[in-house]
């Protein structure tokens, strides 16, 4: 379990002190895939670096499995970092080492015997699906392959926690999906707690069970992903969750604005928008939509405009009864 208690971090800049993190309190349970989401500059990278003390908090405490990280000696901290490993947006592989020797690197640091380290590294190459890349150099790999090697390297010391700092932000959508699947597999099969730092709501939706929304150094919303995705309350959450950003009040006069969120819904046999038009006679227009299908389930949300007439009520009733959809009326 990771507990962040009253975490505060300030940076001195030329323009004065900037508060990067302001009294953050979070609990990440064992086995969670915990998302920390925010716009760039919200402090999420600083937050994740406080967990393994790459950044020292100015106030507050980070407790991992009952141990206060900020109180550890340099040696204890290095040992603790073998249990809390990290992957990065830019992969950060050693460019002059083969993939195999990259994966062996953390074991080399921990003075694991060479034969043992190599055997473990080969196992991990198998796990991340790149057994034939042992002797390849990082420069010869694609972005997705590099991140797989980085994941293998992060798993080399049998960690309890994996920190992912924008791990898929440099990857295309297909590769992002594949890497997220791998992270999910690691979480399920190896029981590793995962902390995912991202600015993309789609990443959180796809693999996280809990999420904290960070805005200007504070946690503005925290909880189950589904709950926050269906009913965002803070402005920051709305910005992240609504398709094409928060809705504008002046959108469409004479219309009701409705946001429908798909939480892994089966939509193929009952197309929603078409059904609203045909069955309820409601002439729906789609103002914005951001949906995608992952493993046959629809994720994402749509912002719909319903003409404010007698059909609107029927349409809303239909949406309410549609399985796997949450509905929310939007007032500008």
């Amino acid at each position: 379990m990771i507990e962040l208690q009253h975490l505060t971090k300030r940076f001195a800049t030329k323009g004065g002190t900037v508060v990067a993190l302001n009294d953050i309190n979070l609990t990440i349970r064992d086995g969670d895939i915990y998302g920390i989401i925010g716009m760039s500059g919200a402090g999420k990278s600083t937050l994740v670096r406080c967990i393994n003390m790459l950044e020292r908090p100015d106030e507050g405490s980070v407790v991992v499995d009952g141990r206060q990280m900020e109180k550890l000696t340099a040696g204890e901290l290095r040992a603790a970092r073998r249990d809390i490993t990290m992957i990065f947006q830019q992969f950060n592989l050693l460019m002059q080492r083969t993939c195999l020797r990259n994966i062996m690197f953390p074991m080399e640091l921990a003075k694991v015997p060479k034969e043992k380290a190599e055997a473990r590294a080969r196992e991990l190459l198998e796990l991340v699906g790149l057994p034939d890349k042992a002797e390849a150099y990082p420069a010869q790999l694609s972005g997705g392959q590099k991140q797989r090697i980085a994941i293998a390297r992060a798993l080399a010391t049998d960690p309890k926690v994996l920190l992912c700092d924008e791990a898929t932000s440099a990857l295309d959508p297909n590769t992002t999906h594949a890497i997220l699947q791998l992270i999910q597999k690691i979480n399920r099969e190896l029981g590793i707690t995962v902390v995912v730092i991202t600015h993309q709501m789609s990443v959180v939706e796809e693999i996280c069970n809990r999420v904290a929304i960070l805005d200007e150094g504070t946690v503005v919303e925290e909880g189950e992903v589904q709950a926050i995705f269906s009913h965002p309350t803070s402005a920051a959450a709305k910005r992240l969750v609504y398709p094409a950003g928060a809705p504008k009040a002046e959108s469409l006069p004479g219309h009701k604005l409705v946001r429908v969120a798909f939480n892994g819904t089966q939509t193929t046999d009952k197309p929603l928008v078409a059904s609203l038009a045909i069955q309820c006679g409601a002439l729906v227009s789609i103002l914005a939509a951001d949906t995608r299908i992952v493993n046959g389930q629809t994720l994402g949300s749509m912002l719909l405009a319903l003409p404010d007439d007698e059909n609107a009520a029927r349409a809303i009733e239909y949406i309410k009864n549609y399985p796997g959809i949450t509905y929310e009326e939007v007032n500008g």
């Binding site: 790459l54 073998r82 460019m95 921990a110």
Partner: protein, 232 residues
């Protein structure tokens, strides 16, 4: 041509010619030894210039860093010709004599280690900060970061820069002929400059140029070959 072959210059040239292989060897080994010693001092110093900074891998007190930088800049700004003369007493103390090739190695090392440490500093700075952060996140000690990340990752650049250092040291070494250091520089100065023997002057210079060309070619190839960022 016949005129040249009949000249006194040519006669001296033929007389000196048998000593050329020996003098070439003097140039080669004194350059090699001086470069090696300059590296022994300059490599750790160059690494310290990066790791010792505030926010570096192993920060050193500010005054230590200021002193180090000032010392390097000071030594770098003394012209080699003058430095050679200033350190004559030191050469006598270390080598036992102030003339000859071994004695010339002392000023060569003193003049080149600050230069080498600046070159090493530039190479080490090229290492991606993210890679160093990754190593820290895996529990690497500062020494492990230096030996297993910074130096291996900057190896191609280090080789290129050491090649530059070697050719510069060879050039300095030629100047050491003035204070009695051996080698091709001595030939060029003693016969060419002091006795107006143009043939020997040019011959010794051409040999030096050839040595530099070989060195640079080998250095460049080595740097390229060991760089695994380049796809072949």
């Amino acid at each position: 041509m016949a005129e040249l072959l009949a000249s006194k210059e040519w006669a001296t040239f033929l007389q000196v010619l048998p000593t050329i292989p020996f003098e070439t060897w003097e140039t080669i080994w004194s350059t090699a030894v001086a470069t090696l010693l300059a590296l022994v001092i300059g490599l750790p110093l160059g690494v310290c210039l990066v790791t010792g900074e505030q926010g570096g891998v192993r920060p050193l007190p500010r005054w230590v860093m200021s002193l180090l930088n000032a010392l390097i800049n000071l030594l770098r700004s003394v012209p080699f010709l003058i430095l050679m003369i200033i350190v004559i007493p030191l050469s006598r103390l270390i080598v036992g004599t102030s003339i000859g090739t071994p004695a010339s190695i002392v000023p060569l090392v003193i003049a080149s280690f600050p230069f080498v440490s600046r070159l090493v500093e530039t190479s080490i700075r090229e290492v991606d900060a993210g890679v160093i952060e990754a190593a820290q996140s895996m529990g690497a000690t500062p020494l492990q970061i230096i030996t297993k990340v910074m130096i291996p990752e900057s190896m191609p650049s280090l080789i290129s820069n050491v090649t530059i250092a070697t050719t510069t040291i060879m050039g300095y070494g030629a100047m050491a002929g003035i204070i009695g250091g051996g080698g091709l520089g001595k030939i060029a100065i003693n016969y060419g400059y002091y006795r107006f023997n143009g043939v020997l002057e040019i011959f010794a210079t051409v040999l030096l140029v050839i040595l530099v060309q070989i060195l640079q070619t080998v250095g460049t190839r080595l740097a390229l070959r060991c760089d695994k960022r380049i796809q072949r």
